[in-house]
Point group: C2
Chain length 333, copies 2
Amino acid sequence: MLQGKQTWLFQSKPFIAASAAVGGPFEAKGLLSKDFDILHDDVWLGQDSFEKAEKVLLQEACETAIKKAGLKKEQVQFFISGDLMNQIISSSFAARALGIPYLGVFGACSSSMESLALASFIIDNKGADYIVAGASSHNVSAEKQFRYPTEYGGQKPPTAQWTVTGAGAGLISSKGSGPRIVCATIGKIVDKGISDPFDMGTAMAPAAVDTLLCHFNDLGIDPTYYDLIATGDLGNVGHAIASDLLEKSGMKIPPGIFTDCGTLIYSKDQPVMSGASGCACSATVTYGHFMNLMRKGDLRRLLVVATGALHSPISYQQKETIPCIAHAVSIEI
Amino acid sequence: MLQGKQTWLFQSKPFIAASAAVGGPFEAKGLLSKDFDILHDDVWLGQDSFEKAEKVLLQEACETAIKKAGLKKEQVQFFISGDLMNQIISSSFAARALGIPYLGVFGACSSSMESLALASFIIDNKGADYIVAGASSHNVSAEKQFRYPTEYGGQKPPTAQWTVTGAGAGLISSKGSGPRIVCATIGKIVDKGISDPFDMGTAMAPAAVDTLLCHFNDLGIDPTYYDLIATGDLGNVGHAIASDLLEKSGMKIPPGIFTDCGTLIYSKDQPVMSGASGCACSATVTYGHFMNLMRKGDLRRLLVVATGALHSPISYQQKETIPCIAHAVSIEI
């Protein structure tokens, strides 16, 4: 049910019956390593390409979430997923392996919450009993596609971010127990003229702010309603900008409540510049860390605002600025 | 509401309150030229890149559909769209121009019906009053990205298809008049081991058959329920294979009922090999030609089964076969 301008309020509050996070060796050295279900010690995952490795990450996250929910693949009606690869091949090839009817989405790094928002809407309105929603990214496949091959060893400015190698998936269900999805706010494109792909936090921060303001306005609540509001992958640079922009809009979020998945996942001694990014950033932190906190009773009301930079290498080469978007999903237990 | 395994039955039968099709100079010479709202005589559309031209096609189709419905952009709650470009930049940049909250989808050439199915589900369940659903493709941007630059003049086998330069959009509404969306069947990946990107009809035909069989099974109807069943862009080669496979499955569709958008759009003297393809193939034929037939009373019950080949140039280079999918949407007046 539409509430306000851009927010879907879910009457039945669908359950995240189970969730899973899968990561690579670099994520294993991070601060949230204990929140991953599977951690690989090889970025190739035994595959002969990084693209195929990314597909395995996503497939494993989905299969683990389905298994943790006590279900079989055949019982899951739909798989909704997106990733950063051209033609979202990670999601489509994972869909082939899973054999579940499939809806591909693309919202760059906001794909994690786009797929969760759509899955929740469909479950809430009896379009399915079980849906697996997911998203993935792979550091090397993303670097190769969007920037340079890592072997090139190009230097990066301090505003750059480190794409997470991983995947997160949630099994969304009409019944069960555990965290429940209360509502979702679908974002619109915000483009403030930033064109530097090494500074996506700055580009995406205004989109996060736009969606947050819309969310609070649509629901008539203020940020203190939540125990935690987490942006997807703004990193240190983008998160500080988002805080400033919110304050200027008269919507100051207390610092203890406001965080960013991209600043949580790695440790301070890992060379990730401004922080983490990639579809798997918000996907692994949400489906791993946050869900674990909720299940342990350490977190009750969570809002995840996943942000996406919707440019391509071609649009960058053609001197276009970066259109950004953010989708917010509210989860409570 | 889920009916059977993969079909959503829409209780309120959302309206296609208005629709629009936009094409290029080659489409202007085709058999369906009178069904386009706008036909450009220049494949560049006055832009300085083919990618930017494709974005204009999509933007124009959406704006025309919105205008024909007597609405303003501000009244439309969501824009759901997909295309073939890496990171679906045509849709995302059109979303920036439209300023409407946006959900990007990717199902290759099945994106036209994926966006329409999701839009219908959301309207049917009061997630919005108005949604614009669309899809686009551009012959030259697609050739450049998936095959060779057209200037190279590479020869093609007779199984190859011609990517439509165009865009189609529908304004989906909870009220109004005109064609109504009855149900949608979401496909699963079917991959029979075809890896030749110059023979997508053969690759996609089994996916169309899988979705058709599922559709009839879920609803307990047979093909004669429909006045017309149109696959998306199988072309002559793929459509003949789909007919054969259906007959082998005991589901023979009478030839007068069964067609393919890719065989309808161009004239016999246009050098399009097996037929047309691209997201805009099913999008322009559905939102232009078929909607005009329905509004004139010449077509009552229509099933569009848009097919998508979910490979990428990278997956092809890595010797992967082509995962295919088909989504079906049933429209009646």
